[in-house]
């Protein structure tokens, strides 16, 4: 174990240079999902609750894509980050459920 925290501790591995393809793909998908959400709201003559669920789902999908491709979350060594993001999302969800059901007037 090195005492000096500024010494490189891992040797350079043979590393495939990151291809930008995945990143462009994530970008395009995000744009498409966004446009879809806007379109449904502006032009969709649909039931309100359906629209809500649909656009929130689109947002979640976009979030997952950005998380996994742009924030490298799918690479190894990201267990704890994912645990805490999930934990945070869980607590946030309890807050949102509270706001929807348990804030009476």
């Amino acid at each position: 174990m090195s005492n000096n925290s500024h010494e490189a501790t891992t040797p350079s591995k043979r590393h495939k240079p990151e291809s930008p393809t995945n990143h462009y793909l994530s970008y395009i998908i995000s744009i498409v999902l966004t446009m879809l959400a806007f379109a449904v709201v502006l032009y969709g003559d649909l039931d309100r609750s359906f629209i809500f669920i649909f656009i929130v789902t689109l947002a979640l999908v976009q979030a997952v894509i950005q998380l996994f491709f742009w924030m490298h979350a799918k690479e190894r060594g990201h267990l704890f980050p994912l645990i805490f993001l999930a934990g945070g999302a869980f607590v946030a969800l309890t807050g949102v459920i509270t706001a929807v059901y348990w804030v009476w007037w």
Binding site: F80, F84, A99
Partner: protein
């Protein structure tokens, strides 16, 4: 790496103001937390003086409300949590075989933010009145800012501003402290120290830190919203403009419930360490202890509505949270039984630390059972806002957490200070405090059942409330005496030379493998861990010391810095600016903080090194 710096070393006061050493920061937390414990204790004594007899007029009205608010807020945020952080700082890096925490600078920052937040809130006593809306700050009482509706506040209009700003500043400190310990435990464990070989105190520190990271942002949001309402005219909690007070309660308790688990889990960890060391036995059921701790942490986020059963959320909501609350008793019970089974058949030594720890067990159980009683919504409609609740939470916080913290002090004092606290004075401290505690809070169960409400500054004679209140006040004074005995113990110990040995208790974990007090660099060589109870494993194999995992080499140490203090001072100044709506002061304060952050970012300080030659000398000296 061979790049020698002239090490920046300060001495005296500057050493303490600029330190980034977790051991010194632990001591700072202990001193500051201890100071605020005395402040909160004084507030409690004053409350009990007022309530000793019916119809007294010593501390009444808004003054009384200030005392109860500040007693609660100070004890939880400025006494209990800092002492917990004191132990986490002093002990966790040692227990994992590390030389410091992951972010020493941020560690110091966390301390100064807490300290200045506490100071800010307490300046209110001298600046027109302390916060008076309860430690829970419920809106719309806490949103009153104009004189016309302030008659109930007896014109103490600014009090709650101190609450809002002081807690926000201190809260940031706690949050970054939580992040720090998580990264430390995840990334900096010694070789061989897998998660399931961690000492229980480190496990509880780990889960507690996780709870802090996920719970504190909720109170931050609540306080920001309260601040926006009070200072910027927001409408979050103003019914006339569509605001909603139940929202405050939800946000507060979504934080508030995990907060009480943040308070108690470290105490559980301390008890596990002490009970096992002084029974000379491995902790019974280690895996189930770990699992129970994780489960308590998780369930802690699912029960907050049990503080709100009477707000009218309806039977469905109440039932869900009632069941979840009762469920938490299960992993807690697992822990109690594990401690009992550890003690059973052990060679028990009743050192003061162990006396406090074993007293914790039945006392905490008493508090826990009243908790289960409170978990039943129908029953809670009777208990809510009575002294029954006060009795419950003091049993778990004082009879639980505080007894655990005292136990930890007697246990780890030699490692922190190189001296042993007097066992004789310790036992005297214990008996005064323990008897005083039960005298204070046991009658309060009955006072509550007989109908005495909370947060009232007096009561009428002829309702059978006199005896319970008087006994309760006597008990409070006994606790005060016990605390004074403890202070005497500390002071008289301070006068003695540092003669404690590395391992005064025949300990089982890594902190006892190094000299007392711990040397600046902690471990000359990072140890190799071969099993649970790392040090005990080596002792059983006939070794006097830990097997090193690395050769002796130069040790990298982080540099001290004044920037954590300046960053915190900037926010402190800005806080006053916000409270008095002097935005130039806000600007100055924020500028101080931002400039400090800029300097920190731009000037990379790579620390300094202790060379092997110096290590041979350094031996057992701090």
């Amino acid at each position: 790496m061979a790049h020698s710096h002239t090490a920046k070393r300060y001495s005296g006061l500057m050493d303490w103001l600029t330190t980034v050493d977790h051991k010194k920061i632990g001591i700072l937390y202990l001193i500051a937390g201890g100071f605020f414990f005395l402040v909160g204790g004084l507030e409690a004594i004053l409350i009990r003086i007022q309530l000793a007899y019916p119809d007294q007029h010593i501390f009444i009205g808004d003054t009384f409300n200030q005392l109860t608010t500040m007693h609660g807020t100070t004890m939880i945020f400025f006494a209990a949590m800092p002492v917990i952080f004191a132990f986490m700082n002093a002990v966790v890096p040692l227990q994992i075989g590390a030389r410091d925490v992951a972010f020493p600078f941020v560690n110091a920052l966390g301390f100064w933010l807490f300290f200045l937040g506490g100071v800010l809130m307490n300046t209110s006593w001298f600046l027109g009145g302390a916060p008076d809306a309860g430690w829970t700050g419920y809106a719309p009482l806490s949103t009153i800012t104009d004189a016309s509706s302030a008659t109930t506040l007896q014109h103490n209009i600014m009090g709650t501003d101190f609450y809002v700003l002081g807690l926000q500043i201190a809260g940031i400190g706690t949050l970054i402290g939580g992040i720090n310990f998580l990264v430390t435990i995840i990334n900096m464990r010694a070789p061989g120290l897998t998660y399931m070989r961690l000492p229980m105190f480190t496990w509880t520190a780990f889960i507690t830190s996780g709870l802090i990271v996920l719970a504190f942002p909720a109170i931050t949001v609540a306080l920001v919203e309260l601040m926006f309402d009070r200072i910027f005219g927001g409408a979050f909690f103003d019914a006339a403009r569509g605001g909603n007070n139940v929202l405050w309660e939800h946000l507060f308790w979504i934080f508030g419930h995990p907060e009480v688990y943040i308070l108690i889990l470290p105490a559980f960890g301390i008890i596990s360490e002490i009970v096992s060391t002084f029974s000379k036995k491995r902790l019974f059921g280690y895996s189930s202890m770990v699992f129970a701790t994780v489960l308590i942490g998780f369930l802690g986020f699912m029960v907050w509505v049990h503080h709100m059963f009477t707000t009218g959320l309806g039977p469905v909501a109440n039932s869900i949270f009632s069941i979840a609350t009762m469920a938490i008793a299960v992993p807690t019970g697992v822990k109690i039984f594990n401690w009992l089974f550890t003690l059973w058949g052990g060679q028990i030594r009743f050192t003061t630390a162990n006396v406090f720890a074993t007293a914790f067990i039945p006392t905490f159980v008493m508090g826990g059972t009243t908790g289960v009683m409170l978990a039943i919504p129908d029953a809670d409609f009777q208990y809510h806002d009575t002294y029954f609740v006060v009795a419950h939470f003091h049993y778990v916080i004082v009879g639980g957490l505080v007894l655990g913290l005292f136990a930890g002090m007697y246990y780890w004092w030699p490692k922190m200070f190189g001296r042993m606290l007097s066992e004789t004075l310790g036992k005297i401290h214990f008996w005064f405090f323990f008897i005083g505690f039960h005298l204070t809070f046991f009658p309060q169960h009955f006072l509550g059942l007989m109908g005495m409400p909370r947060r009232v500054f007096t009561y009428q004679p002829g309702h059978d409330l006199e005896m319970g209140n008087l006994i309760s006040t006597v008990g409070a004074f006994l606790m005060g005496i016990g605390t004074i005995v403890f202070l005497i113990n500390i002071i008289s110990t301070w006068a003695k030379p540092k003669t404690a040995v590395a391992d005064p208790w025949d300990g089982r974990s890594l902190e006892w493998a190094i000299p007392s007090p711990a040397p600046e660099y902690n471990f000359k060589q990072t140890p190799l861990v071969r099993g649970l109870d790392a040090l005990w494993k080596e002792k059983m194999a006939g070794n006097k010391e830990m097997i090193p995992a690395e050769p002796i080499g130069s040790i990298h140490m982080p540099s001290p810095s004044i920037l954590p203090l300046t960053m915190s001072l900037g926010l402190f100044i800005a806080g006053f600016g916000f409270m008095y709506e002097h935005y130039i002061v806000v600007g100055i304060g924020m500028a101080v903080t931002l400039i400090s952050m800029f300097l920190r970012s731009v000037y990379d300080d790579h620390g300094w090194h202790i060379e092997p030659e110096e290590l041979e000398d350094k031996g057992g000296r701090a």
